[in-house]
C-alpha cells in the first residue's frame, strides 16, 4: 500500500517539529505576502490549468481536480 510510507513520513516530520518554529512575536517575515506558501493564488491556478491541459500530471499543491476537457 503506497499510503503507508507517506503516513510514516508525516509522523517523523510531525514528531521532529515540536522543537522547531518561532515565537508569535518573531513572525514579521513569515507574515509577508511573499512568504505565504501560495503567494499569488491566481497565478498558481493559471499554471495548474495550463499544465493540467498539457501534461499527464496534476495537483500536488492542492486538489488534482479536473474541470476541463482540455485540448
Amino acid at each position: 500500500m503506497k499510503v503507508r510510507p507517506v503516513l510514516i513520513l508525516l509522523v517523523i516530520f510531525g514528531s521532529g517539529c515540536s522543537s522547531m518554529g518561532v515565537e508569535p512575536w518573531e513572525r514579521d517575515i513569515l507574515a509577508k505576502d511573499e512568504m505565504q506558501l501560495t503567494s499569488d493564488p491566481v497565478e498558481a491556478a493559471t499554471d495548474d490549468h495550463i499544465y493540467f491541459s498539457k501534461e499527464a500530471s496534476s495537483g500536488g499543491r492542492g486538489f488534482g481536480g479536473g474541470g476541463c476537457g482540455c485540448n
Binding site: 503506497k2 499510503v3 507517506v6 513520513l9 508525516l10 516530520f13 510531525g14 517539529c17 515540536s18 522547531m20 518554529g21 518561532v22 515565537e23 508569535p24 518573531e26 513572525r27 514579521d28 517575515i29 513569515l30 509577508k32 511573499e34 512568504m35 506558501l37 503567494s39 499569488d40 493564488p41 491566481v42 497565478e43 491556478a45 493559471t46 490549468h49 495550463i50 499544465y51 498539457k54 501534461e55 499527464a56 500530471s57 496534476s58 495537483g59 500536488g60 499543491r61 492542492g62 486538489f63 488534482g64 481536480g65 479536473g66 474541470g67 476541463c68 476537457g69 485540448n71
Partner: protein, 437 residues
C-alpha cells in the same frame, strides 16, 4: 535577566490575564470587519507555435474578510480558446484526409505535416466559491464549490478542508476532500473506443454524452522552521472513473512492414477518411498518487521558493516536477522574479504511436502526445511593482517547451523518416493587478 525573574514575570502576566478574564469585560473584543472586497485579477495569453492552441483568459478572484476572520472568496475565469490540436494520427509522406469531429465535413493535412484538427474553438466559463472560517482557537474550516461550462464539457465539484495548528502555530496539519462530476458532450457525440473513424454523416459509433467522477483527498503538514524558513509536505490521491477518453483523439492503423497508414478506398460520391484511424480507448478508471514538498526561504529581502512533486498512477505514468522561483526586490516597491520549472514523465502503458493492421487489437490504446514520454521546461521572469495608489501590478513572460521522445525500436518501416513527436513551444504572458487592499 535570570530564569527565575522570567518565570516571575510570566506568572504575574498570567495572573493579570486571568483576573481580567475573570472580571468580565463589558463586550468581547471582535476582529475588525474589512468593509471592502479585495481583488486579484489576471489577463493571460497562452500561445503555441505552428498554429496550435491559443488561449486568452481573464481571471478575477475576489475576497472579503468578515468578523472573526471568516473569509468569502469568489472566483471567475473566462477562457477563449482557438487554434488546432494534434489529433493523434501520424505524419505521413502523403496527404491525409479526416472526418471532422462534427461528422459533417472532412479536412486534409498536407504530406509530412503533423495532423492537427483546426475545427476546435471553445469558450470556457469557470466559477469558484469558498468560505473559510476558524473553528475554535486552533482549527480552520473551508468549504467550497466549483463549476465550469464549455461547449462540450460541464463540471460541478464541491470540496472541503480542515486544518489544525499545533506547536504555537508553527505546525499545521491539513486534510481535504473534493468530489466532482463532469459531463462530456463532444461535438458529434462521444465515439466508442477502438472503432474506426467513419464517413461524413455516419454517427453510428457515437453516443450523445458521457460522464466521469473525480474523488480527491489531500493530507499535508506545513512547518515553520525558523523566522525565515517555512516548509510544506502534501500527499494527495485522485481517483477518476467513467469516460476518460479524449473523444477527438485517434490512432493510425499502419502496415506492419512499411509503417504507413492503411488506405481506405472511397467510393465515388462518398466523403470520409482517406486512411484507417481508430478512436483511442483509455481505461475507465485512473488512480493517481502525488507527493508534493515546498520550501520558502527569506534571505535579506530575497525569497527562494522551491518545490518538488512526484506523481505515480496506475496507468504507469510517473512524473517529476521541480519548480524554482527567486524573488529579488528592486528598491522598496518593485521586484523581479526569475522562474524555472522542469518536468519529466514516462509514457502510459497503453500509449502507442500506431497500431499494426491485422494484429489483435489491444484492450486500451492512445496516441495522445500528453500520455507519451516527454520532458518539459518553463523558463521566464516576472516583474512586479506597486502603483501610485498602493496597488500591486505584475507582468510575467515565460516560455514553455515540450520535447517528446520516441524510442527507435518502436518505429516501423518508414516511420523513422518522420518527426513523430514534434516539440511543442508555447509563450505565456500574464498581467496581474491586485487592488482594494
Amino acid at each position: 535577566m535570570s530564569d527565575k525573574d522570567k518565570r516571575t514575570i510570566a506568572a504575574t502576566l498570567a495572573a493579570a490575564t486571568c483576573s481580567l478574564l475573570g472580571s468580565g469585560l463589558p463586550d468581547p473584543v471582535q476582529a475588525q470587519e474589512d468593509p471592502t472586497w479585495n481583488f486579484n485579477t489576471a489577463l493571460l495569453y497562452y500561445g503555441e507555435d505552428d498554429d496550435r492552441v491559443q488561449d486568452l483568459s481573464l481571471s478575477i478572484l475576489a475576497n472579503r474578510t468578515y468578523v472573526d476572520d471568516r473569509v468569502l472568496t469568489l472566483g471567475v475565469t473566462l477562457d477563449g480558446l482557438t487554434g488546432a490540436s494534434p489529433n493523434g494520427a501520424l505524419p505521413q509522406s502523403f496527404p491525409q484526409t479526416f472526418t471532422q469531429p462534427s461528422g459533417k465535413k472532412t479536412y486534409t493535412i498536407d504530406a509530412d505535416r503533423l495532423p492537427i484538427d483546426d475545427t476546435f474553438k471553445d469558450t470556457r466559463l469557470a466559477l469558484t466559491a469558498n468560505w473559510q472560517q476558524p473553528l475554535g482557537r486552533l482549527y480552520q474550516f473551508n468549504i467550497g464549490a466549483s463549476a465550469s461550462r464549455e461547449y462540450d464539457y460541464t463540471h460541478f465539484g464541491i470540496n472541503s478542508k480542515i486544518a489544525r495548528d499545533f506547536n504555537r502555530r508553527n505546525t499545521t496539519l491539513l486534510a481535504g476532500i473534493a468530489i466532482a462530476r463532469d459531463s462530456i458532450e463532444p461535438v458529434g457525440g462521444a465515439p466508442d473506443g477502438l472503432t474506426a473513424m467513419a464517413n461524413v454523416g455516419d454517427l453510428s459509433n457515437r453516443r450523445n454524452s458521457d460522464t466521469k467522477d473525480i474523488f480527491d483527498v489531500v493530507i499535508g503538514v506545513s512547518q515553520v522552521i525558523s523566522r525565515n524558513l517555512i516548509t510544506q509536505l502534501n500527499y494527495s490521491y485522485s481517483d477518476a472513473s467513467g469516460y476518460l477518453n479524449d473523444p477527438y483523439k485517434l490512432v493510425s492503423v499502419v502496415d506492419g512492414v512499411t509503417g504507413e497508414v492503411v488506405p481506405i478506398p472511397q467510393l465515388p460520391g462518398s466523403e470520409g477518411p482517406s486512411h484507417l484511424y481508430l478512436y483511442e480507448h483509455r481505461p475507465d478508471s485512473r488512480a493517481k498518487h502525488s507527493l508534493y514538498t515546498q520550501a520558502k526561504y527569506h534571505m535579506a529581502g530575497r525569497v527562494l521558493d522551491i518545490s518538488y512533486r512526484y506523481m505515480t498512477d496506475d496507468w504507469e505514468i510517473d512524473s517529476h516536477t521541480v519548480d524554482l522561483r527567486y524573488r529579488w526586490p528592486l528598491g522598496g516597491s518593485s521586484y523581479i522574479e526569475p522562474h524555472l520549472r522542469l518536468y519529466s514523465q514516462t509514457a502510459a502503458e497503453f500509449y502507442s504511436l500506431s497500431l499494426v493492421d491485422g494484429e489483435t487489437l489491444p484492450e486500451y490504446v492512445s496516441a495522445d502526445y500528453r500520455l507519451g514520454e516527454f520532458d518539459a521546461m518553463t523558463a521566464g521572469v516576472k516583474y512586479g511593482w506597486q502603483t501610485g495608489g498602493g496597488n500591486d501590478m505584475s507582468i510575467r513572460l515565460e516560455f514553455y517547451r515540450q520535447s517528446g521522445d520516441v524510442a527507435s525500436d518502436v518505429l516501423i518501416g518508414n516511420q523513422v523518416n518522420q518527426d513523430n513527436y514534434p516539440d511543442l513551444n508555447a509563450i505565456i504572458v500574464q498581467v496581474g493587478y491586485q487592488f482594494g487592499r
